[in-house]
Symmetry: C2
Subunit: 336 residues, 2 copies
DNA sequence: GTACTGGATTTAGACGATTCAATTCGTGGT
DNA sequence: ACCACGAATTGAATCGTCTAAATCCAGTAC
């Protein structure tokens, strides 16, 4: 009934447990005939390795934790995709955790992962200065920040969010907009504040631009829609003529609200999102968006982690920064 | 450097490892003064339990595997949400795995989970008759099918998909549609074929209905959009006047294609989706959809699993079936 | 002073896989 | 016929935690 252990396999094959283990781990040192006998025994008994025992003995596990802010956001699934593809090559498993932008959930996941002695953790943290993170590192679990630049002793993979904000800002200002809304949140999240800083800088440089800020708790479609309704209800004279949203889910919700309210995009309201998820291209009005190389982000993060795990001692933390691209589509382009 | 073990904690507190373990597991049998001393030691050393060792000793782990077809589909994230909430109450962790409707990936995840000796597996399988599944069960890992009815010796939680198909079919036929497209895939997936069977039955009962079938590999926005473009390109006289799509992602893509092609919804094309994800309500034209109680599905599946894990021997497999609801919104309703 | 009680603590195996030093065995060289 | 060598295999220790049984000890009753 209970899953057979290596011991039963050995007994049935008439060899010692050491030999079975050798068949599993270094088959070439086992005589072909013996090897065959052991493999038959394994198959007959339906033996399955016990990962917990391996892990305990080896002192380290073969799983990597990945904590994202929102699994339902394609941006993060793309990251997961990238991370998993590389993990696979390293004979490693990814444990995907969803913090839902909630520090408590995030903490719970960190606890669990640390108890599982994961090889390391890739995380888009709620707060990148969380002392928990450095504590974990000092206790021996490598941490790589994803989509967030690290300053101190951590590896990180990120995209220049200020530049992203600037790209969006310049684009909208050059198109003639003078009342622009920035929508995102919570503002305490570095990504959000960086993007905000970027567009703010361009607005100041240009001068005469009225930039308004709207904060949301979570960046999802529903919230975007809500803010959209709110803006649509304003009189046209005081309503922003363009909106830059800190992610595409917000932008999609916002776009839907415009459509429901009968405002034309981009004529009445130009929209630029962030992340360039597949939905963005496929939206009712194809969405302009600041593209981030999500899958590459995930892959690189995993790469840094594996590097750190293998090099162990003489590893130097690195901060990789990618450049975002502005993808212009109909939602902000009058010329089409 | 290395994480301290219970042994170091014991040494520092001047007690035996057994006492430390007792503080961790049955604190009440330890004298308050000793308990305090141990707890101080734990904190000072930054001790973190080694889950692998606990697991090995206990013979069973504290994690449950959840394999879904598409993490990016909110329907499945809702299921995960439900499963996790209950898992939390049982001091259990959920490992979320994404099969991406790919049997190979699914198999890989199954292997990993079995090696980890997970408490059990919740899965929306690609093929519910996969012999792997029953093999795993016979080797001792309980499996609960999610969103899929089991016949043989398995627990399952599902929604009556035939009924769902009938609800959509009746609704569209009563509204006068006589050329209807069914879109989904792969048709080998039971959910899809059941929904198809449902609407087919209503069409046959009504008579004089031309029901056309379109198959896709994966049910995502992109694919929906593609089929939408394809239908939009047909001459109006032969084009279906209504479409029933096997999930909301497809429906959303389809809807976008209509909008781009200048077809009005529902006047030129009525649309009914499936799952009633949040996006559906928030779409440019709010989407009619067959609602499934996703979170409840996840919770119930976890409930069945926990039941089976605890009862162990005298457990009888159960097949829970929920009823879907048709939510009518603008995308199929002329009267609004 | 002895025997007993009950609470507090320790001790001594497991659990399953891995690894490495030790052993066995067959073969070839001399 | 004997030794040496290498290939194949074994045996035992180990990882960190848990638990049942054993031990210790202070206090109490007689």
């Amino acid at each position: 009934m209970a899953t057979p252990s290596i011991k039963e396999v050995a007994h049935r094959a008439g060899v010692s447990v050491g030999t079975v283990s050798n068949v599993l781990n270094r088959p070439w040192i086992v005589a072909p005939a013996t090897r065959q006998r052991v493999q038959d025994s394994i198959r007959a008994l339906g033996f399955v390795r016990n990962e917990a025992a391996r892990h305990l003995r080896a002192g380290k596990s073969r799983t990597v934790g990945l904590i994202v802010l929102d699994v339902a956001n394609p941006f993060f699934t793309d990251i997961a995709e990238g991370a998993e593809s590389l993990a696979y090559e390293h004979d490693t498993v990814v444990m995907l955790c969803n913090s839902k932008t909630d520090p408590v959930r995030e903490g719970h996941h960190l606890d669990q992962l640390e108890q599982q002695r994961v090889l390391g953790i890739l995380i888009t943290p709620f707060d990148s200065n969380d002392p928990r993170l450095t504590a974990m590192v000092s206790r021996g679990t490598p941490v790589v920040l994803v989509d967030r630049a690290a300053d101190r002793g951590l590896c990180s993979v990120s995209v220049d969010d200020q530049l992203g904000g600037r790209l969006a800002g310049n684009h909208l200002i050059e198109a003639g907009h003078r009342r622009i809304a920035f929508i995102g949140g919570p503002f305490t999240m570095q990504q959000v504040s960086d993007r905000m800083a970027g567009i703010t800088a361009t607005a100041e440089e240009a001068g005469g631009v009225d930039l308004q800020y709207y904060e949301v708790d979570v960046m999802g479609v529903i919230e975007g829609r809500k803010i959209g309704e709110q803006l649509a209800a304003l009189p046209a004279r005081s309503r922003p003529t363009a909106a830059f949203l800190a992610n595409d889910l917000l932008a999609l919700g916002f776009l839907q609200a415009m459509s429901v309210a009968g405002l034309r995009v981009p004529r009445d309201m130009a929209i630029v999102g962030y992340d360039d998820i597949d939905f963005a291209r496929a939206a009712a009005v194809p969405l302009s968006s600041v593209r981030q190389p999500a899958e590459l982000l995930g892959r690189s993060a995993m790469e840094l982690l594996q590097e750190e795990v293998q090099a162990a001692d003489q590893h130097r933390h690195r901060q990789v920064i990618f450049q975002p691209d502005l993808i212009i589509r109909e939602s902000s382009d009058y010329t089409r």
